[in-house]
Amino acid sequence: MNQRVLIIEDDEALGAQIASQLRDAGYQPHWLRDGRSATDDAAQAALVLLDIMLPEQSGLDILRSIRRTSDVPVMMLSARTDTFDRVRALRLGADDYLTKPFWPEELIERVKARLRRPVMQRSEVLDLGRVQIDLAAHTVYVDGAAVPFTAVELRLLSLLGRRAGAAVTRAALVEHALDPDREGGERTLDVHISRLRKKLGNPDAIQTVWGIGYRMVRSE
């Protein structure tokens, strides 16, 4: 990663913690205690973490000043929980708003989400590592070899494959992939999933998610 993240936080303990957490997550933190050079430094950063309550200058004023010259993503850090403050920050150009206290993992996840480049899945081929699903040709390749799947199985795979990494509910799978009159409902879903796992040759390719349904993961 090594993307530069600008931190503007006056609290020594919190600022040091955030810088350390970002460094551990593979980012390159640059920490300012006030907003004096914020506008110039923001131009070099991939993301700005900006505390709202700074001693000499309001975080919102710094945000305004950054926004005059840059579209860099800005995440506000604040102990204030009023919707009014949050909406005001978002209207001034903030991209996200994280209220204190927060766990380091939550901060890192939000930073990652903000910096993640969206993957535009334009092609009709879903690449899931060992498994490729050609939606146009209705063909599934496992380790490069075409494997026959029934129409129901293809529909299930397409649904799970398009949302790889995310859990899909049983109800959604039944609604969009099964015909209740022919393929049955939720009771037969498990049977179909079991068959899918066998054909994919990897029981972990489709994970059972407790309380929800199933999730397809990329398998290497």
């Binding site: 929980t81 919707t83 766990w103 995310a166 309380g211």
Partner: protein, 465 residues
């Protein structure tokens, strides 16, 4: 100075000069009328053969002119004739001043008024238009010395009487008005001291408008004061509750940290369970502080919702994200399922996050290692459903209704002994009600399922699960 005195004085100050002006105008117009009439009569008397008579024998003409005029017995009229050099053949003829002569020579009538001990004397001098012995005629009206008959009511007296009458009527008419103003003033004092809420509105005039305006103003002030008092009460309550409720988990956290410190100092292994417990307390305190803040606002009659478009997919993802670290520490699996597309509703984003956060927090905190929590968002903006399911110990049916009861949280209720779920669930329930949503327990065989849904057919969305 009181209003009645001020009004009377003002009326007097206005009416006396007015009366004087009217009297002066009356007198002047009467004199002007006399002058015009007299000048016309002189000219008429000087028409032929009168002019020849005047030129030949001015004194005789003058006597004849006066004899032909009717005057009241108190007035005597005399006439004097002057030649072109302002000389008269009559010794008693009044002299004509230089200033008057200049005007007369310009053909302008001159009228003079003088007063002596007998009374007012009016003189009118008019040029005749000739240069002979009868060049100017002076007509004098003066008191005759005959005593005036029984006094009659002159114009001036009549006017003075009318002015006084009007003043008296004004003074009387003010009475009821001043009485109303005094009653209004008394009522306002009673209202200001708190003995009465509103003042009575009598009639439909400007005084009634003042009373109405006062009532509106005091009503707004009272409402403002009430809200201020409520806010201050909420703040005091928040401070008191926070101090009380935070102290225990803080003490527990202190204990965990002390234990960790001992372990580190002794070179021993840091037990993950101790770390997990410490994190759990910190997480609980963070949620508690935020919940107490929201509770204080809700109890104070705030907030007015800051409505805006809220993507529930984002909110659910953030709520799960926030609880992943503590769930991992406790050995609890937490998963979520959301639609692929945004699900945007009109809501207060902070309150909705708080409500969902509380539900997820409860599911994680009151669960056991190795168990599960699932958060499922389903449906459409008008018919959405968010379910938080866990396979923990669950909540006894008899306790569920009390946990969702919409009553202000009290320090007795906020006990950790009831699992501490009360405050979080009550706040979530109130937030749902503010948005016209529903929060309810869905029957399950194992654990608990709490559902937050829109009020319109939200059940339809959840029934598909």
């Amino acid at each position: 100075m009181r209003l009645r005195s001020r009004l009377l004085l003002t009326s007097l100050a206005a009416s006396v000069p007015l009366a004087i002006a009217l009297i002066w105008l009356f007198r002047e117009s009467r004199s002007s009328h006399f002058d015009r009439m007299t000048a016309a009569e002189v000219r008429s008397a000087l028409e032929a053969p009168g002019r020849e008579t005047c030129e030949r024998d001015p004194a005789t003409w003058a006597d004849a002119f006066v004899a032909g005029r009717r005057m009241p017995p108190t007035i005597r009229m005399r006439a004097f004739v002057y030649d072109a050099s302002f000389a008269s053949g009559v010794a008693e003829a009044p002299p004509i001043t230089e200033a008057s002569r200049r005007r007369l020579l310009n053909g302008v009538d001159v009228s003079l008024r003088t007063d002596d001990d007998r009374g007012r004397i009016d003189d009118l001098v008019t040029p005749t238009g000739t240069n002979g012995a009868c060049a100017f005629v002076l007509v004098r009206r003066e008191p005759s010395g005959v005593p005036a008959p029984a006094p009659t009511l002159a114009f001036e007296t009549t006017l003075a009487v009318w002015v006084l009458l009007v003043l008296a009527v004004v003074a009387l008419a003010l009475g009821p008005v001043l009485a109303r103003l005094r009653r209004l003033s008394k009522a306002m004092r009673l209202s200001a001291s708190g003995e009465r809420e509103e003042v009575a509105v009598e009639g439909d005039d400007e005084i009634a408008d003042v009373a109405r305006a006062y009532n509106e103003a005091t009503s707004q002030v009272r409402e403002h004061v009430r809200r201020q008092a409520a806010r201050e009460g909420a703040l005091r309550s928040f401070l008191a509750n926070t101090t009380h409720d935070i102290s225990t988990p803080l003490a527990v956290l202190t204990g965990h940290l002390a234990l960790l410190s001992k372990l580190v100092a002794a070179g021993g292994k840091i037990e993950p369970s101790v770390v997990a417990a410490a994190m759990n307390e910190a997480h609980y305190m963070a949620a508690l502080i935020q919940n107490l803040g929201v509770a204080a606002k809700l109890d104070a009659g705030e907030p007015a919702l800051e409505l805006g478009p809220v993507d529930l997919v984002d909110v659910v993802e953030r709520a799960v994200q926030r609880h992943r670290p503590i769930a991992a520490q406790l050995g609890i699996s937490i998963e979520l399922a959301v639609p692929a597309a945004p699900l945007v509703v009109e809501a207060d984003v902070t309150l909705v996050e708080r409500a969902l956060g509380n539900l997820v927090h409860n599911a994680v905190r009151h669960n056991h290692c190795g168990r599960h929590v699932a958060v499922i968002l389903d449906g459409a903006p008008e018919t959405f459903s968010v379910r938080v399911i866990d396979d923990g110990p669950g909540i006894a049916p008899e306790a569920r209704a009390a946990l969702l009861a919409d009553s202000p949280p009290t320090s007795e209720r906020r006990r950790r002994a009831d699992g501490g779920q009360g405050l979080g669930l009550r706040i979530a329930s109130r937030i749902a009600a503010l948005h016209d949503w529903q929060l309810c327990f869905v029957p399950t065989d194992v654990g608990a399922c709490v559902e937050l849904r829109s009020s319109r057919d939200g059940a339809a969305a959840s029934s598909r699960a």
